[in-house]
Symmetry: C2
Subunit: 425 residues, 2 copies
Amino acid sequence: EKQPCMPTHPQKPLIIKTGVQFTTKVRLLVKLPEVDYQLKVKTTFDKDLPPGRVSRQFFILTNNTKVMDIEDYSNGCLSVEFRHLQLKEKKYINGTKGNEGLLSVTEELHSLSFEACFTVQGLTIDLETCSLPLVVISNVSQLPGGWASVMWYNLLTDEPRNLAFFGNPPRATWSQLSEVLSWQFSSLAGQGLNKEQLSMLGEKLLGQHASCSDFQVSWSKFSKENIPGKPFSFWMWLDSILELIKKHLLPVWNESYIMGFVSKEMERALLKDRQPGTFLLRFSESHLGGITFTWVERKDNGEVKFNSVEPYTKSRLNALPFADIIRDYKVISDGVVPENPLKFLFPDIPKDDAFGRLYNSAPNKVQPYIPSMLIPISVRSNGSISPPTCQSPEPPMTPGEFNMLSQDLCLDLDSVSVLTASYEP
Amino acid sequence: EKQPCMPTHPQKPLIIKTGVQFTTKVRLLVKLPEVDYQLKVKTTFDKDLPPGRVSRQFFILTNNTKVMDIEDYSNGCLSVEFRHLQLKEKKYINGTKGNEGLLSVTEELHSLSFEACFTVQGLTIDLETCSLPLVVISNVSQLPGGWASVMWYNLLTDEPRNLAFFGNPPRATWSQLSEVLSWQFSSLAGQGLNKEQLSMLGEKLLGQHASCSDFQVSWSKFSKENIPGKPFSFWMWLDSILELIKKHLLPVWNESYIMGFVSKEMERALLKDRQPGTFLLRFSESHLGGITFTWVERKDNGEVKFNSVEPYTKSRLNALPFADIIRDYKVISDGVVPENPLKFLFPDIPKDDAFGRLYNSAPNKVQPYIPSMLIPISVRSNGSISPPTCQSPEPPMTPGEFNMLSQDLCLDLDSVSVLTASYEP
DNA sequence: ACAGTTTCCCGTAAATGC
DNA sequence: TGCATTTACGGGAAACTG
């Protein structure tokens, strides 16, 4: 009769972190005959759970009883919202923990129960309901693992409260799973995953079987086992990319400028016939939460060459937004002047047409100082260790490049003169 | 009879943050006749303080009673150490807060009391002592203000417990204060302040009077009033520099490479006659927690010109250590190739002799990728808006500069070939 | 010794109080 | 309303604990 809404974590419902406030709401779906007293609802954590079923026990630290009220903005049904609830672990329980540590903490499922009791015409009626299974974590570092559990559960069962689910978790078909993975991106950023991106993910997870969309993926392969040769699981890797997008790449991702999930073979095949300076953006497969660009160039002998920059991770993106990295990236070859090798976003969009609106120009013009900015560079030797010639074979920086940089540093012509001024107090 | 040790905050004793654990120790300085029961000590916060004396009231959340024990490593006297003590504010006290908000929270002084009681031969003896005045804060953002109070109190009074001290705080002579300020640096970093640095600080605080070392500084001028034209007080400014040193400049500071506190006039006078490319390091006076370098150059017409870079603050220093900024800093003038204008640390130490040991070279050589690094640059126009000439008047990058950069990127010659490799899976 | 897990707490942001 | 102060909690690191 009651439909409990779930405790909410920003973006990640059904995960509760100890010591952090959460909110939950219960609604009474049937109209009750008028009762002359207030209907109290009590919330209990892991009510009636046989001890030993879970290895950790928690309790609600704060007030867990509240009176139902007519819901605003609705057809007048009764509801109650619990706010500022907080979970704490019970310590020193008699006897050791149950569950024998077979499951990790993020696989251990819990639930919130709601109870109310009222009397009509001598008849005592008990109402009770409970939430979908919950994961309890103690640190945000456990959030990815917790979210994997919530996804897997809700993808693969309709049971409202199978807390033993991860004792023997079912497999998912690739077609089910790929849809959920795409949702992770679209709910984060508006932009989901296209067929090509999903197929790369499928191959990564399943090898060549991915072509068969009802091939099955085990829970372990999805989020517990490490990817062969890597120190992280498939989901940990994918989640690190979701975090990277959320914090540093949202606008670029939403414009679909990040191909992201491309195998290196595919990458080469795509870039091979493109004009030199064509580049694409791809997530690192070797490191968590990294993005790199790969561009194609043609050597004097006509040979095609591919280059990928060391992936940028959150620490560098904190210092410099990704669009600015693309704008300012320079390669210094053998002491020759810096040049930005990135010209066209694959397939053939001039770089500034794509990223122009996303550039963050305008360094602070603090009066007596010369503005400064960070730019990303690579130094590349062409193999000859001998010092470079002293006369540059090409102009040090084209007028166009110079003007672009100047625009970054001062927004209008008047202020150019400011840059000229030496320090004069 | 008892000598209480103070609750300790890392580096900042006598400041307690609510909700954060602190430690305190009490020692019994007299030998007691043997007592056959254990001597219990009780700790109380703001014991016997007349309500209204302080505007906020706190209590010790955790166990506040402990038994004294023979102290290790000592002449066998009794002592007890309270650990994991934690303070919490009493809310909803009857009647409004006392003190009428004359004082800020960091000026409000509190104290910890320790009590013990024992009986010898029918004689009951009460022992009681208390700590030096304490400042209670609720957020680390209040730490600088709290530390200013602790310094001022302990500099200017020997009273053990004058909680009304900041009702009418005495002035400090500049000679007293300057010594304490120097201690802040030496206790942080080993290296204190020299005469020149102190004299600049004195002038900043007092104007020309600083020459007279017994000129007096008021509490307000030291830490409450803003510096004229600036949105922060003298102490807030100085403390922001202490934090900057602690987190980002420790080795450079300890080598005395940071002149730091120099007036702009003095700076010019020092650099004026030095060879071009001579630079010095100075803290920003206009912004909190910033460091800049100023270098001298000589124009074609012989005119001397001074340049200061926009100050680096913690956010940029997080991305790039300061020594590396000095190593890699480049100025692009009118599209001409980047050049590092920093040659000699004042007075005449070749840059790499001074900073060589402090450079953090070695970007990660992740195999298939081209290493990348961030470098700080400034773009400067010489006033002519016309595009730069296409032939560079000087070599794009000297062999020496190129070799330096190469060394940053690969530590041994063998690995140079790695840099050459294109991406080949 | 070690890995999984929790605790600790700074530092930023948001909320609250005055 | 604005400023002073507190609360909230993500995130990195240390501490814990079998």
